[in-house]
């Protein structure tokens, strides 16, 4: 279980008040984070992944604090909206970097990379460069890398924002399956309420640096009485 407790952060020199996050995510669950631009969704992911250091608070994974760990040591894999892959390396190498950055793979590790690519339907494209792939295929490669890294937490920062509706649906379905199969914990940042409906049983609404609601996705999107949520959804 991932527990984010009173996690506080303030950007240096920013006039806005400090952000404070509280959130719980269970193993095998994908929680979506929705909210207006600048509300702190991506900041929360950066705090969990270690790109930003919190001013105070805790991030606990199965009861163990991880917020002081260095970025590479955290049990986290992250998929960004773009630039997840190195353009000059083929798909196999891009995924293999997730296993060992020195690329000195054992036979076992190499076959795990191949298996992950197979699992994501990319086994025929191992020698291709990212420039030869579609946007959806590129994000599949990033997911394959997350798979071989075997880290418990998967962060998806607008990972499917640049894709069309059908591809988004397909990839979100894939994420749900991977998370469920591997008992991972996923946080999905998206601007599209529809993504939350597809991905998550529970969704968090983030506004002005706080999780103002964490509830059943359908209830949040269709019945919430919170002014911020209704304003964001355009139902006010």
């Amino acid at each position: 279980m991932l527990e984010i407790k009173q996690l506080a952060f303030r950007y240096a020199g920013a006039s806005a008040p400090a952000m404070h996050f509280d959130l719980d995510v269970h193993a095998g669950e994908v929680v979506s984070l929705i909210g207006p631009s600048g509300s702190g969704k991506s900041t929360l992911l950066s705090l969990v992944s270690g790109f930003l250091t919190p001013d105070s608070g805790e991030v606990l994974l199965d009861g163990v604090a991880i917020e002081q760990l260095a970025v590479p040591s955290r049990p986290v894999s992250i998929v960004f909206q773009q630039h997840n892959l190195f353009p000059h390396l083929d798909l196999f190498t891009n995924v293999a970097l997730g296993v060992d950055p020195s690329l000195r793979l054992t036979r076992q590790q190499a076959s795990e990379v191949t298996a992950a690519l197979e699992r994501l339907g990319l086994d025929q494209l191992q020698q291709r460069k990212p420039g030869e792939l579609s946007g959806g295929q590129r994000q599949r490669v990033a997911l394959a890398r997350a798979l071989v890294r075997k880290r418990k937490i998967l962060l998806l920062d607008e990972a499917f924002a640049a894709l069309g509706p059908a591809l988004r649906e397909e990839l979100i379905g894939l994420v749900k399956t991977l998370v469920s199969e591997n008992k991972m914990i996923a946080l999905l940042v998206s601007h599209q309420p529809r993504d939350a409906l597809m991905a998550s049983a529970r969704t968090a609404f983030v506004s002005e640096g706080r999780v103002v609601a964490l509830e059943d996705t359908v209830a949040l999107l269709e019945q919430s009485q919170l002014a911020e949520v209704r304003n964001y959804l355009g139902t006010l």
Binding site: A12, S49, G50, F51, T53, V71, P72, V76, S77, I78, F80, H83, N84, F86, P87, H88, L89, T93, L97, G98, P101, S102, L103, K129, G131
Partner: protein, 524 residues
């Protein structure tokens, strides 16, 4: 979160060395009263009619050179911008990049070959002096200005051209509402850059200046040290030059609006009147002839000169070896130092410390306000009382040339490395792709192209340098550029022309080898 990291340490070492190389000679410069030739009142330079004359000529030739280079360049750049589809456009633009790597002394030979007595357009004795200096400065700076101005037109959004067309704008209205606003941003910075280059130009004025009447501060410094042995006057002139350069650089910094990153270029056909195309093509033709003629003429003269005699001389081959040694060593030092600086500034920029990052870049480019001859004079003064400076030619010349190349390295590598950091830094952190692995799998494949270009530029510039080597060089340590100067001084023009051709070819080959050898073939 601020913590000492290897990047900060390596950048700190580089900056400390840069500071030492610049400040130590400055300390030599300010110790004026202990120098031979010093007389109380030397610093009141306005009392000396010689220094007043040198100063006013320096500024006057730089101003005229700037106007003669940049004003025609506006027309030529506009012609290139409006005429986007004609045969050999790319080749011509590449020709306009050539003067960047042509050593000044080679260009001088080209100018003499065209405009000297017996040349294709003989100007006789009036070539030497202001006329010759202007002709050579325009040869260098017109193409440079064209290449810097062209992106301004290309940055005008395609939709603006279409809108102008739809609104039925005339040529004048298009200029006023579309082109001039884009140009206005960059023009002051470009003019000041050219002014600075002409103000600190040494080889051109040394070889084409006509004695005391046409002497600039840089040449006067050289003459004071090497001919009059009057270090006190050299120091006064060097300080004067330094103050002027700092003033010009300060104004440039305020006004400069050169694009930092590669912009998306629009390349559609432009609306134009019936006469526009012939007029533009005529402008491009004249500019091409102006730039191409000196090099072609020099080539013809060299091929009909004492080619075999020069090539079979062991002195030439020794000079080639020295030239290569200086050029490659300077490139290596400059690229390594620049790499450390840019790495640190990119990581600062990534962490949101943009002002600090800018400061690091600026510190690395500090030599922009310190002409090589000023640093050389300081070193000369500082070291001459302790060692025989002529025994220290190579370390001094290599160090100063490496320092001079640093701004180019920062300019070439900076944008690419910053983009790399912005795109992949978090991913690398997350994958623990650090140190050697990060260099091997990410930075080398993606940055080898700008790295190759930077190394090629610094090597070519150092190989063609006739500033510091003229100050410290001797016949035993002469590079090709100094050999050409010696041959010119002995009126051996045909010999100098052949040597110039050898130097030009050497620069081009080294440039090509480094750019391709390091840069490789990018297939991402």
């Amino acid at each position: 979160m601020t913590q000492l990291n290897p990047r900060a340490i390596s950048a700190g070492i580089v900056l400390a060395l840069v500071g030492l190389i610049i400040l130590a000679p400055l300390a030599g410069l300010v110790n004026l009263s202990g120098l031979p030739g010093y007389e109380p009142g030397d610093l009141r330079f306005w009392h000396s009619s010689y220094i007043r004359r040198v100063l006013s000529f320096s500024l006057w030739q730089a101003l005229l050179s700037t106007l003669c280079s940049v004003l025609p360049a506006i027309l030529v750049a506009r012609a290139f911008a409006l005429q986007v589809n004609f045969p050999m456009r790319g080749l011509l633009l590449r020709l306009f990049a050539l003067p960047l790597v042509v050593p000044a002394v080679v260009a001088v030979l080209g100018v003499v070959s065209v405009y000297g007595s017996g040349g294709w357009i003989p100007l006789g004795k009036s070539l030497y002096g202001l006329n010759g200096i202007l002709l050579a400065h325009v040869f260098f700076n017109l193409p440079l200005a064209v290449r810097l101005l062209l992106p301004q037109w290309q940055s005008i959004p395609e939709h603006h051209w279409q809108l102008g067309d739809q609104l039925g704008m005339s040529t004048w209205q298009r200029w006023r509402y579309l082109e001039w606003p884009a140009l206005r941003e960059a023009l002051p910075g470009i003019m000041l850059l050219v002014f600075m280059l002409c103000l600190t130009s040494f080889a051109v004025v040394l070889t084409l200046g006509g004695g005391p009447k046409s002497t600039t501060l840089e040449v006067a410094i050289y003459q004071s040290l090497r001919f009059d042995f009057n270090p006190a006057r050299a120091v006064v002139l060097a300080l004067l030059q330094l103050v002027i350069c700092m003033l010009v650089a300060g104004v440039t910094l305020k006004l400069q609006r050169l694009p930092e990153v590669e912009i998306t270029l629009s390349s559609g056909a432009r609306p134009q009147g019936r006469l526009q195309k012939p007029l533009d093509m005529a402008l491009i033709l004249v500019a091409t002839i102006y730039v191409g003629l000196p090099l072609s003429s020099m080539l013809v003269d060299a091929l009909s000169g004492p080619l075999l005699q020069i090539i079979s001389s062991s002195y030439l081959w020794q000079s080639i070896a020295k030239t290569l040694f200086i050029g490659l060593s300077a490139a290596l030092i400059s690229v390594v130092a620049g790499w450390f600086l840019v790495q640190y500034s990119a990581s600062l920029a990534q962490a949101g410390q943009v002002n600090k990052a800018r400061l690091i870049d600026l510190a690395g480019s500090i030599v922009y306000v310190m002409p090589p001859l000023v640093i050389g004079t300081g070193m000369f003064v500082l070291l001459s009382s302790h060692v025989d400076v002529f025994n220290w030619v190579y370390p001094i010349v290599i160090t100063i040339n490496a320092l001079m190349g640093l701004p180019f390295v920062i300019r070439c590598l900076g944008p690419a490395l910053r983009q790399n950091h912005a795109r992949y830094h978090h991913l690398c952190q997350s994958l623990d792709l650090q140190g050697w692995n990060r260099f091997r799998y990410l930075e080398w494949p993606l940055l080898r192209r700008p790295l190759g270009l930077a190394a090629a530029l610094v090597a070519a510039l150092a190989m063609g340098d006739l500033g510091v080597i003229a100050l410290f060089g001797t016949p035993e340590t002469a590079t090709l550029a100094l050999v050409i100067y010696q041959q010119l001084g002995a009126y051996l023009i045909p010999h100098a022309t052949v040597t110039a051709l050898v130097l030009l070819l050497l620069c081009l080959v080294v440039f090509w080898l480094l750019e391709r050898g390091i840069g490789g073939k990018f297939d991402a």
